[in-house]
Amino acid sequence: MTGGLILWGVHFLGVYSLASLADVVATADDPLWRAVGLVFSGTCLLAAAILLTMSLKRLRRSSDGRSRFPEQLAALGAGLALVAIAWQTLPTVIGY
């Protein structure tokens, strides 16, 4: 139900940790570390897309009114995560 939001949280902590680690080892905006950040962000985006697809499939399958609410929340959350992760990746793309 909260998978998308958890994924967003993991992504945020991941990109922040990578930048912090890069700052200790080289510089926070070092191109190599940014490339690692982009790969990480891409993986998270893919995971969000998979979550969204899965939750939409489940939503379509569920006909019982009672069980739709968690699926609706899951689908909306995964959709939101997809957008939020893309938004949160922009500093890595831009580089500052």
Partner: protein, 845 residues
């Protein structure tokens, strides 16, 4: 729908039961849940009393902190005024901010939850009523002591976020800062206790049939709020502990000369501090989403989107803490991540605002006092949100940082996002707890004075901030264009104070709590809190089939009052409530609730005594108070896990449920797991502190002890886990010697955890590392001390297990105590192993 627990939900069709109920049922409920007499008013644990006390205390602190605000504004009305000396002014703004954030905003919404949730969820009370009462008394005593420090010139004076080095002994040599550090740490423990109560209550004490889609939006908000407290507040508990250790023992966590870093404080504080804003806002938003449909007489538009928005706010709020640190020189790309998240968090807030506007537009709004406060909140919060997006942009924040623009922004957000909704909630829900509603005529005066006063006070502050007026100055020079905005702000503050004064008068005139009747449902609210209730909450616990039960379930109030639903009586002869499953709210077992006793009050008094005496450096009396607090808590725990009465009882319509549960289905297990999450968060933040200080000054770090000690520590802790598990297994065997063997194994497990800790401590001492010498020493010895605290608790638990066995309270049919001890012990062992691995393998030798 698939059943979550195996319960046949078709049995709900048996309700409402036909025919009259047996005579005497109601009288028995009234006897069990009777009004306190004499001293029992202090030991009361029923939410109808504790909730009112709690809200009252929060409002007392609001008024006291408001008086301080008026004093500040009077000082700033004209340039170079001499009403308050600089030092007194520093104390006043610190206490004002601290009280509003820690003693009003968070406790007030927790108080509202304690008061409203049982009725909203259809429970007799929240699952741990003594914990609520303990949290209240701890909060009240700690809060009053904190406020009174002003009268002795001992109040903290470093601002509500107490940045080092200003708050270090070099620049704050008195005990003023200690009052803040120990006081706040203590009050946060109370807030966490309340959060545990709320999470378990919302997830496990809902009326049958109240699936997640029928969970009232206020309950959703409180659930997310409490979850956020569990994640965020450990950070400030850790921060205040580290600071106090630095001040008392010179452990250099924040001293850069010895390998510490003041920025560590900012990270720890704001990891708590920014989610705190949403912790305050979300319950108020939940209250808005509950009140607006009733006031506008139409269901909430976009209920699912609103729930998702609240969940999203809860998550994203943990990714914005460093936007308070844009000017500290963090790498640009890092600030960009926080800037992006800070802008993103406005989207879920916006979803809620649009849902409220759409609901108001779709319905027929009534401009009653709560209606006006709701609209005022909407306007004010939106304005604050807009300036929030402005300061989320790094270049703008560089200009506005630490200026009155920020003061204006935060007050718009907090007053619009919490104070106005809270006043709306008071006017809306007070008829539930009082035999008279508040006056509509006076209420409108209160609203307009507060609304006008608020905007007059804070709108000009945007200007004075942009004109360069820094926050936290006790005066300013004439001729810089600051006179007019400051004078207008002061006039606004007086108007606002007049509004609050009229509200106080209204309360004195009309608030009549604890009576036999309430003022009814004047707003035609659709939630279950508007069902007819007594001190036992609802007469019978209904089956919920709608999000708006009073609007859509015909004759619900009549049938509930006639006892035609669940638990119309008291089958075990004591106070009880129904525990239901987490997702689908299927009946699982009957929880036997405690009766009032004084132990939780004494525990709160002695806990407060421990912290306050520590503050004034009376170490021995403090230690004595601490021992007494532990004794009271053990006495309190002794009354839990009582002998079983009947194995199963009839809870209505022939449906039988057990009267005892242990393991993951029990409410006690949930409370323990949440407590351990708090402990885990403190450990995680301590680990962050360790790595952070290494990244700042790694050249002073020495090699860790040899790997042999690591093997012994990890092995000892692993053995402890195995012994604790074995203890529970042996107890489950139900043989004659099972209790004795299980107790012995549990005591051995406790000894193994203690042994691991002793070896770890000894190995570090042998390296020559000093806690007061470097950041490494400080963090390593903090981790050891923190784990030592857990070892002490584990030792107490071992002693407790032994005493329970000696008293004949260890038996196979009652495994709950042992399972919970094993759970705690398992966590403590994991913590010990983790700390040993971290400090030896990172950065390694």
């Amino acid at each position: 729908m698939k059943s979550e627990t195996g319960f046949d939900t078709g049995q709900y069709a048996r309700f409402p039961t036909p025919g009259p109920r047996p005579p005497g049922e109601l009288a028995e409920l009234e006897r069990l849940w009777c009004r306190p007499k004499g001293w029992q008013w202090i030991t009361a644990i029923n939410n109808n009393f504790v909730g009112v006390y709690y809200v009252g205390a929060a409002m007392l602190f609001f008024v006291l902190a408001g008086i301080l605000a008026v004093l500040m504004r009077t000082q700033l009305a004209v340039p170079m005024a001499g009403l308050l000396p600089a030092e007194t002014y520093n104390q006043i703004f610190t206490v004002h901010g601290t009280m509003m954030m820690f003693l009003f905003a968070v406790p007030a919404v927790e108080a509202l939850a304690v008061l409203l949730l049982p009725q909203m969820l259809g429970a007799r009370d929240l699952p741990f009523p003594r914990l609520s009462a303990y949290a209240f008394w701890a909060y009240l005593i700690g809060g009053l002591a904190f406020f009174c420090s002003l009268f002795f010139g001992l109040a903290p004076n470093g601002g509500w976020f107490m940045y080092p080095p200003l708050s270090s002994t070099a620049f704050s040599p008195g005990i003023n800062a200690d009052f803040w550090l120990l006081g706040i740490g203590f009050i946060e423990i109370s807030a966490i206790a309340g959060a545990i109560e709320i999470i378990v209550g919302v997830l496990r004490n809902r009326a049958p049939g109240m699936t997640l889609d029928k969970l009232p939006v206020f309950a959703w908000a409180m659930l997310i709020f409490a979850g956020m407290i569990i994640i965020a507040f450990p950070s400030v508990i850790l921060a205040t502990t580290l600071m106090e250790l630095e001040r008392v023992f010179s452990w250099p966590f924040f001293d850069p000369l010895k390998g510490g870093d003041p920025l560590l404080w900012q990270h720890l504080f704001w990891f708590f501090g920014h989610p705190e804003v949403y912790i305050i806002f979300l319950p108020a938003a939940g209250a808005m989403s509950t009140m607006i449909p009733a006031i506008a007489r139409t269901p909430l538009v976009g209920h699912t989107a609103v729930v998702l928005a609240m969940l999203a706010t809860g998550f994203i709020s943990f990714g914005v803490w460093a936007h308070h640190m844009f000017t500290t020189g963090m790498p640009t790309i890092s600030t960009s991540y926080f800037s992006a998240a800070s802008m993103a968090v406005s989207i879920p807030a916006g979803i809620q605002v649009f849902a409220w506007i759409a609901t108001i537009a779709a319905g027929r709004m009534r401009y009653t006092t709560p209606g006006l406060f709701v609209l005022g909140a909407l306007v004010t919060f939106t304005m604050g949100g807009l300036t929030g997006v402005m300061v989320a942009m790094v270049p703008f924040d560089w200009q506005a940082h630490d200026s009155y623009f920020i003061v204006a922004h935060l007050h718009y957000v907090l007053i619009g996002g919490m104070v106005f909704p809270f006043f709306a909630a008071i006017y809306y829900w007070l008829p539930m707890s009082s035999s008279r509603p508040l006056s509509e005529r006076l209420g409108k005066w209160v609203f307009w004075l507060m609304f006008t006063g608020m905007h007059l006070t804070f709108l000009p502050m945007h200007l004075s901030g942009l004109m360069g007026m820094p926050r936290r100055v006790f005066t300013y020079l004439p001729g810089r264009g600051l006179e007019l905005p400051n004078l207008v702000s002061t006039i606004g503050a007086v108007l606002m104070a007049a509004g609050v004064l009229i509200w106080v008068i209204d309360m004195i005139r009309n608030f009549r709590p604890f009576g036999d009747r309430d003022a009814g449902n004047p707003h035609d609210g659709p939630g279950m809190e508007w069902l007819p209730t007594g001190l036992y909450s609802v007469r019978s616990i209904p089956v919920v089939t709608s999000l708006y039960p009073l609007w859509e379930q015909k004759n619900l109030a009549r049938d509930v009052e006639a006892g035609r639903y669940f638990l119309p009586d008291a089958p075990t002869g004591g106070r009880e409530t129904l525990v239901t499953s987490t997702l689908n709210a299927e009946p699982q077992y009957l929880q036997r609730m405690p009766m009032p006793s004084a132990w939780h009050v004494w525990a709160a008094v002695f806990t407060a005594g421990f912290f306050l005496l520590l503050t004034v450096q009376a170490y021995w009396p403090s230690a004595l108070s601490g021992v007494l607090a532990v004794w009271c808590m053990m006495k309190w725990c002794w009354m839990l896990d009582r002998p079983r009465v009947e194995d199963t009882v009839d809870i209505g319509a022939g449906i039988r449920v057990p009267t005892y549960a242990s393991g993951p289905s029990s409410h006690g297990w949930w409370a323990m797991v949440i407590t351990l999450i708090v402990a885990g968060m403190i450990l995680a933040m301590a680990a962050f502190s360790y790595v952070f200080l290494w990244s700042r000054n790694s050249q002073d770090w020495i090699a860790p002890p040899g790997l042999w000690s690591l093997v012994v520590v990890v092995g000892g802790n692993a053995a402890a886990v195995a012994l604790a598990w074995l203890s529970c297994r042996v107890l489950a065997l139900d043989r004659p010697r099972s209790p004795a063997v299980a107790t012995a194994l549990m005591i051995l497990a406790a000894a193994a955890v203690g042994g691991g800790w002793v070896v770890d401590l000894d190995s570090w001492l042998s390296t020559g590392l000093k806690a007061s010498a470097t950041g490494q020493g400080a963090t390593v010895f903090f981790l050891l001390s923190w784990h030592g605290f857990f070892v002490a608790i584990v030792a107490l638990m071992g002693l407790y297990a032994g005493l329970r066995w000696a008293a004949g309270h260890v038996e196979t049919r009652r495994p709950s105590t042992f399972e919970l001890i094993a759970l705690f012990l398992g966590y403590a062992a994991g913590q010990g192993a983790f700390a040993a691995l971290l400090t030896r393998l990172f950065p390694g030798g």
